[in-house]
Structure formats: C-alpha cells, structure tokens
Symmetry: C2
Subunit: 319 residues, 2 copies
C-alpha cells in the first residue's frame, strides 16, 4: 500500500449521476485481502494496482447529481480509502436515517460485519434454544455479535481469541459463557472438550485451519458449521489442510459457506432488530478506532495478526 | 479375518424371540472398515475381535420364535458372515415381499447402498433439472444408482472410476453423459474442467481426499456436496488434507455429511420408485458376485483397491 498526496477538484460532473462525499469512517475488513490477489472467478473483482482501495465506509454528502442524495446526508456503502470520493454508482449507498447510534457503527454493528453475523447465525446455523455454540475470532467485528445473538437466542456460547485481554472482554463485557486464548492451548481438541463436554451443535467459523479441524472432532450429530469470510484468507496459504472431514459423515454435519450479500432482503429486518437490541442495552459493540487515513495500511495489516481489539475502523474525520 | 469351521445346532431356543436363518447373500460394504478400528463415539460400535463379522445379507428363515417371521420366508437385514445365523433381534429384518427381482439386489439396489443413493441424491443434494452432477466411485454400489437417478432427474452426469473397463460401463451401460479414469488423469482439476466447463452443481462424494479438493475448485455458486460413507475410511489415514475449503465461501457451497439411517421413513417410497424404474427398464444394476463364504475376506479387502466392478456381493448359497 502506498500513501499519496495530491489535489482534486471537489465537484460532481453534471449529468454524471454521481455523488461527492467526504469520507468519515473507513472499514478494515478481512475479505479485502482476497481482492489483493488474482482469484479466478471470485464473487468480487481484485483491486487494480495503483488505484484507490475500495472498501466500506461512512461518509457525508458534499454535492450530489443523484436524486436520492443531497448535500449534508450521511451515507454508508462502498467508498474509497481517501479523504474525498466521487462515487460513480451511488445506488449501492445506504442513507443513514437515524443518528442515535455512533456513525462508525454503520461499517460495524449495523454494516456488513453485523449483517454477516445476523445472516450467518440465523439463516445458516439454524440455531435452537439450548444448543452449544462455538465462535472463533470471537471478539472480532463479526464474532462479537454472533456470540451475543446466540446468548439472546438461549444458547450456551464459548468463544476463542488470541490474547488474554480479548478473552477477558468475551467473558466480562460480551457475555460469553466461556472463552479461551487459543494461543495458550497446546491442544485445541482438548480445549474444546473442556469447554464442550457434550460437544458442539453450531460452529461459527471465522478462521478455518487447525481450529476447524479440531472442531470437526467435537461436533454433535446434525451439527452445523457456518464458514465465514476469513477462512478464505487463511486457507489459501495454509499448507496443513483439513484432515477430519470424515467427521461430517459420522456426525451428519452440514458445512455451509456463505456470503452476507446473498441475504440482503433481510437487511431491513436486521437493522430493526439490532438497533432495538442495542437501544435496550441487550448488546454492546467494541470498536478499535485508529485516527487518520495514514493509519489505515498498518491497521489493515494488523487484522491478520489479531492486533485489533474489536471491529477495526479508521476515523478519517469525525464529521 | 479368520475362517473357522465348526458344528452348530440348527435350533431356535424357545422363548428367545430369535430367528434361525440360512445366509444366501452377504454384502461387502466400505462402511464395515470403520467397524474394524476403535472410533470413539461412532454411530455404530466396532466389531469385537474373535466374533463373527456382522453385515447386511439376504437369508432364508429356517425356524422362527418371532411372530413376524416363519420358516421359508426370505429376509434382508443385519446377519453374520457365516452359513447359518441365529438372529437375536429380528425386528431389524425386512421380509422380502416380492421375488421378481434377484434376491441379491436386497443388499444392493434395493438395500442399504441403493437407499444411500436415493436419500443422498434426493434429500441431501437438492437436485434440479438441468444441473451438472459429478459422482466419484461412480460404478460402485452407491454411485451407479446416483448417476442413473440423476439422469432420470434431467441432470448432466459425469462419473469417475479407477479402470477403463469401469469407465466403459459408465458411458455405455449406465447412461452417464461422460466418465473418466482418475488414475490416468495427471491433473484432476484439469479433468473436471474438461468435463464441466460450466462447473459442478452437485458432487456426490464417495471418496474424499484429492478428488474432493479438486472438485471444490470447480463448484458453481450455491453448489451442494453430499459426503457419503467411504470418505470416512479414506481420510482417516489420509495425510494430505483438504486445502480448498475456502471455496465453500467463495461459491457458497454446502458440504453435508449424511447417513442413510437418518432417512429410513423414506424407505417404502424408495422401494416403490426403484422397483418401478427397474421393471420399466429405466435403470440397471451391476453386481460383482463372488462364490462361497471363503471368498468373502479377499472380496472385502478388494473394495479398497477398487477390485470390484459394481456392487460386491458374496453368494454363500443361491437358495
């Protein structure tokens, strides 16, 4: 990544249908790593070297040539990693209706990561009250909401994370029943057996690899594994491989890869439910906020070593 | 395995509720390999060393202390690898109602393997007309029926097998659209891309391992993979591991392990449908019949190197 300084003209070309925005918050999401290599036939095209990085953000409209947006509106959606963006296809933007919640939440709790948690948990995991739920990368942007939704659903919920600080957050702030630091466990299978003596009904997989292999040994009959985005980053350079897939037969386990974009018809329902939970104090959301666009590259890289605590956001400008 | 000769008394103990049978056909099924090791917490207990091997068979009732069976009845179900068996729990036996079809088919086309194909294809694969279906071990006891059901469902069907003789059977007797000998393909991914330029909607996986890994690279969006029994045998000693599970996210693929025993409520419907298809000449079934109980051990071992052509059966006695 390269940081460039230059001058631009803050004007929307007439007849372009475009919108000019000032970027306030930018989202660092693991899926973006996949756009930095040449996947063939991916669901999303790779970044073009030399051009501005595209990602989710919250922005303020400065000028608009599109009938749905006017100057002063706050929007969320795909924007650029830059101070100001000319958005050529504004139809993908969502207008932020209420400013009751922090604006940055629209790339986290109320944005793609939150919706990933919602769609993945309710639509892919088919949860039932009383089931045993395991979440990896549990304090991350997606995991922290999955765990809280599972608790509200009446499940027993355990999370894994990579530092003791995160484990403490899971147990004492996010309401998980149990949590462990996978980096301090010499035997993941043993750690899972300790936390789930009865086995696991649902695994919300944010990491893949060795943890997935250990989880497969601990699934209960008819269990479900929702495979979320990050696994794609991990596995492609993972030379270990998954050895315990035979357990899917033994325990009749369903392993389902998913993308939140397949469930967008549920977005309004998601927003209503999560905003309601948040206002009632039923859920909290932890952000890791870096200040300034120049902090974006290192914050993004930090995602892959677990440097972030909670959802990683870059504040370009507070308003 | 050990072959023992001894004398027994052909008599059912009074009040035992047992049934004495003469075994006619015994089934060699890959899942039995799993009973020859100590799986912990498996769906089926391991064999006890020194005791008679248990397996599916077709038998004739010689004497009965159970009200549902009488001398002369033909039955199928779990019996022993021996000439005569005293079946202590006859409730699991099915009485063979019609003798229109070969008796041995009750451990193949009309037995557990056939029902595995039926339940796996219709219930697990969620097939739609026109979809692209791939079957591995396609000339085997399960695969040959999966392929024929898929053709009858209006799918495009390709099978893989391990000899040119089997490939020929797939194309010229079993009605597959295309087939290949995986042992002659230096690159499984390339073989699949040649057979499925548009990708695979459904993979009925009888083998796991390297083939599964190659298939994952070729799945279409929202594809389904039914993981059938044999993978459990393969993967447990497979040190390669599966590397392409990230494709389940990219293509939103469902990987579902299953056991036919979870679908037994559909058995009557299965029998009606398959017997009907068979009588109308819509499907055929290939058996590999070995003569004599003493041929059973080598026939069983041969399953794992693909020695059998079609469903492996042992004829203990033709009637």
């Amino acid at each position: 990544m390269e940081f460039k300084v230059g001058k631009i003209r803050l004007k929307v070309p007439e007849g372009s249908g475009a919108v000019l925005v000032k970027n306030l918050y930018l989202s660092c999401d693991p899926y973006m790593r996949g756009r930095m290599r040449e996947y063939y036939n991916s669901y999303i095209p790779p970044f073009v070297p030399g051009s501005v990085i595209e990602g989710f953000g919250v922005a303020k409209v400065l000028a608009s040539d599109h009938p749905s947006f006017k100057s002063g509106d706050f929007v969320s959606g795909l924007t650029g990693w830059e101070e100001y963006s000319l958005i050529q296809k504004p139809d993908q933007l969502r207008k932020i209706q209420s400013e009751d919640l922090p604006l940055s939440y629209h790339v986290g709790l109320l944005g793609m990561p939150g919706f990933t948690a919602f769609a993945g948990f309710y639509e892919v995991c088919s949860p039932k009250q009383g089931e045993y739920v395991f979440v990896s990368a549990a304090s991350g942007a997606v995991g922290q909401l999955v765990g809280q939704l599972a608790k509200l659903h009446g499940c027993y919920v355990v999370g894994s994370a990579g530092t003791n600080q995160k484990v403490d957050l899971l147990k004492n702030k996010l309401g998980f029943d149990e949590a462990f630091n996978y980096k301090e466990e010499p035997d993941l299978d043993a750690a899972l057996k300790r936390c789930f003596p009865e086995g696991i009904d649902i695994y919300f997989d944010n990491v893949g690899g060795a943890m997935l292999d250990a989880v497969l040994l601990n699934m209960r009959p008819h269990g479900r594994i929702a495979v979320c985005g990050m696994v794609s980053q991990h596995d492609i350079s993972d030379t270990i491989g998954i050895h315990n897939l035979f357990m899917t037969v033994m325990r009749r386990v369903r392993v389902q890869g998913f993308l939140q974009s397949d469930y967008l018809h549920l977005y309004p329902q998601f927003l209503d439910k999560v905003i309601d939970y948040y206002k009632q104090g039923e859920i909290v959301y932890i952000e890791d906020m870096n200040e300034g666009l120049e902090s974006a590259p290192s914050a993004f890289v930090g995602l892959f070593s677990g440097k972030n605590v909670g959802k990683q956001v870059i504040c370009v400008s507070p308003k």
